[in-house]
Subunit: 430 residues, 2 copies
Amino acid sequence: MEDKRVKTVKIGLLGLGTVGGGVYKLIERQKKEMVNKTGANVEIVKILVHNMNKKREGVDPSLLTDKWEDIITNDEIDIIVEVMGGIEPAKTMIKEALKAGKSVVTANKDLLAEYGEELLELAKKNHVDLMFEASVAGGIPIMRPLRKCLLGNEITQVMGIVNGTTNYILTKMFEKNMSFEEALAKATELGYAEADPTADIEGLDAGRKVAIMASSAFRSKVVFDDVYIEGITKITSSDIQYAKSFDSVIKLIGVAKNTESGIEVCVYPMFVSLDHPLASVRNSFNAVMVHGDAVDDVMFYGRGAGEFPTASAVVGDILDVARNVVWGSTGRAVNTCYRDTPVKQFEDIENKFVIRMQVDNKPGVLAAISSVFGDHKVSIRKVLQNIISDEIAEIVIGTDEVKEKYMKNALDLIVNLSVVKEISSVIREY
Amino acid sequence: MEDKRVKTVKIGLLGLGTVGGGVYKLIERQKKEMVNKTGANVEIVKILVHNMNKKREGVDPSLLTDKWEDIITNDEIDIIVEVMGGIEPAKTMIKEALKAGKSVVTANKDLLAEYGEELLELAKKNHVDLMFEASVAGGIPIMRPLRKCLLGNEITQVMGIVNGTTNYILTKMFEKNMSFEEALAKATELGYAEADPTADIEGLDAGRKVAIMASSAFRSKVVFDDVYIEGITKITSSDIQYAKSFDSVIKLIGVAKNTESGIEVCVYPMFVSLDHPLASVRNSFNAVMVHGDAVDDVMFYGRGAGEFPTASAVVGDILDVARNVVWGSTGRAVNTCYRDTPVKQFEDIENKFVIRMQVDNKPGVLAAISSVFGDHKVSIRKVLQNIISDEIAEIVIGTDEVKEKYMKNALDLIVNLSVVKEISSVIREY
């Protein structure tokens, strides 16, 4: 009997935008293979859309509905696939679906980053699956590796490039000497950046992914609000040039560390040395590096967004859940966030810094600055100085690791030194 | 009840060498976490060893046995973990274990590359799991991503660096200008190469991994004997220098392609352009790049060998199976090799080539060589020429893609041209 119990697993799709459309097409494309791959025929039987009148190429109009209750209360449907994004109404719909005993596959990072634990607990309580591979880094397998393959590890760090838009912008600034504005315009033109690029360029999108990865890797609840976030809008061509002279590149890095004094979760632009594997992650590609006590460093690289890469992750989850539906083995989740590790205060996190400032072009200036740094436990590792004019010099100082609060205190004093005209940039170094 | 059904899942470990020792230690280390992670207490209750008298630091001697039947016929044991390597007696033991209704986790690439399908069918028939993440690329999650996360894709290519020893050697030849012999000696000294390095340097180890990955990715049976294999023993410092002048690096690449005319499976040294992600995989690190129709390119990078990285993969599998044991959901495998795609004849595979030869230093030589190439559908893309002496010149020719058989025919004629002293190397280009 074992390979004969082919069942048709029925899907309700919430949303038919870019990702939803990709999921629809990919399931059509895989129709013939599915039974062999999973023991199930997977079929989309209902699709929730906003506008019933919009023409949708290649989609059977009889599947469309604008009433979500039709889907959630439909007893035929085994799996709800939520690809609308945003907190509400997705949250309500997913909760209702879970309560109705349906498994859920979602690509919704906004929701997972805030209510992930609550939803996972609800899935567990109702003996159904909740999968969200697509919520982080698009098509790159990262959640299942973190939650399964690396389960024998104590994971101490997850970090990487998890936003393709900003990586594209920074790559163009580095390789083509574009300004931030030029690179953003190019990203918008190519569809990498949305009309309102705030969530990308301010680091919010990356921050959500960091929260989701940290929770899964460290088995302790981390939410979006816990993540300290700086975007890339202040990065200038000068910063990029200095990165080059330091044999580095600037990347927007999401970092989650599980330290003895708590979890650190941050997103900010960082100098990354050219010989680090993340330095060669170019354009809109993403990459996540995981450090475990047994496996050492592993890296996952690929396309972090886009119709088909994201649909690849969603459909991978659908087929996994479908297999569980066929075999009656949904809901085997165990305690996801069974630990209660505190999230560290940002001011207590240690970082290396590169600080660029405009100062008076006269003797004694570096001594004055160094003295303030010295008083605040900041140890200077390297200094570059460029004469800008007879009056003005530009100094770039690289520091050793120091707590954020000491650096902040030092900079608050330095900016008020009479010899300092301006602190032009403060960028961390990986 | 859902999180209360904690069960002790009992393991019989076959082998206590490097990987077996790592598995033992890692399971000890994870003892407290396991229940939360999987809902099960995992406990090693028997260990098969050759020599009962050998001292084994930190291992309870009462667990040891030198009779494998004690383990396979032990009704208490749920999961057999095979980390001995080699075809026999591992094959017999695994088959007996599967028939006895025990799930199996193995790191055995030799076995999987020849008898993978047979063993998977046997597992399916007996409603148990057979997992083998550790058989390819050590700690790097690659089998589960291929078999689960990327299931929505038609995978057309899997390629990469899957042998750490040869990658270490090639890295030292490239970066430190070592000869092959010097680099091999260094690898042996550091424990990266075994006393008999044949399986590594001749590409056999990589070939086994390519067969396993191809079967899983393309869902069609591919065995070790199907793989065309060349090792790195003929690579010289001159080849490395020419690679540099072509902005490339030489890597031992395993390639599996699913083309319309059949499956291609090969292992050979290749020129890889410096801007390809695999070029920056240094020392003993491994990396596998997968191309799927939806996901595009994804890459998995990390440590392909070693006690703890390999144990990480084995324990990941153990915990996955343990969860299935607790929930009664083992044996959900479906048709693994449900397709029957032919493996292409090697002579019909197309490659780009870089050919280095010593020729008479006189006019007309390149014309003579080009003419033979032209007659055999070989189109020349670039030529480098170095004068070695008054009499001898070295020519390096880069070609476009051409079938292996045409290239072979051309070279058979070229080597017999009176103006050609020697064909020094024939290396493919990715």
